[in-house]
Amino acid sequence: MPTFDRPAPATTAEPPLNAPRSLGDLFWSFTWLALQGFGGVLAVVQRELVEKKRWMTREQFIEDWAVAQIMPGPNVVNLSMMIGGRHFGLAGALAALGGMLALPLVVVLVLAALFATVTDHALAQRALRGMGAVAAGLIIATGIKLIGALRRNALGAPACAALAVATFIAIVVLRWPLIWVLLGVGGVGCAWAWRGVGNPPPPPANAAQPPQP
């Protein structure tokens, strides 16, 4: 597979960008930033790759992040594959992916095994109850933070709220399988947005469909 060709970054007064030196460099860089990320790696990725290593500009990062979010799959994993793939093709994507997952997976399994040895104790059970409640709070807080990103959504607040409430009810109350919610509610949302976003100034000749989940 080819590497992703990108337009050369606009020349600014900033120093030129760096690039990962090798597959090993990619692997260990991503391992290091994965191990720094508690409860999410995104903030660490931005700080390390844009500000410290200067592998990409802030604009490139935002653009890549948007694409990583549309695609199915874990966002940060998608992002690491995109960055690795740009520099070293498929091998680079796999090196970045491996770095992101290999060592952190070992850490998580060791933690889980430690828990398993004490899991029959009432004390560990109670600790996990508390941790589970906190984990639920973390996820809800992520949702609250993302509401802010919806403010710039072209659909407008009422439409966004209607779609969100419909999704929540379908999953929590009606217990629909996720695929029907994504196709049904998501389809309505995409059609709604299609009418709203209009055509870009230069109409592209290409009329392919977006990757639907």
Partner: protein, 198 residues
Amino acid sequence: MSITLTAADWLELFTQFLSISLLAVGGAIATAPEMHRYLVGARGWLSEDQFNSSIAIAQAAPGPNVLFVGLMGWNVGLNAGGGPAGGWRAYALALLGVAVTMLGMLIPSGILTYTATRWAHKNRELRAVRAFKTGMAPLVVALLFATGWLLTAAHQQPARDWRLWLLTAATALIVWRTRLHLLWLIGAGAVLGMMGVV
């Protein structure tokens, strides 16, 4: 808990995660309700506590949150081997569970992402791409709330569990409003639990 998994069951687990992978728009955690419906509800391969602790431990550990998927596979395999008492066989099955769930979760989305990234980058002004992004955004947010809700609703006794819900609400507020390290919160949850406060 102890369960029996045939080769066909393992294959079904793999194909289930292959399909969940392609649904994970907005991150793996958005598919947690679907995993719950399948693993805890339809199949009974995981207990409610194991499901919740998989997410809690993965959130507490460093690294991408998608690792909770591997932990669920670990627990399914462990259950198939008769729990930790099952010795090395149980742990071998647990590792198989990790491989099955993680590969299932990553292969389809990885291939799709790798091939579609270039297309999406070239066509980022395309109306269809922007409509897809715009239309899906509210769903992604709602899925996070649905996941948080299902995790709290796992406690079915309001009389006893209101303190847990309070802890969830307080956590959400603190994470939203402050930059406190998440590890402190997870630790606080563990300590409060051990002390029997929640």
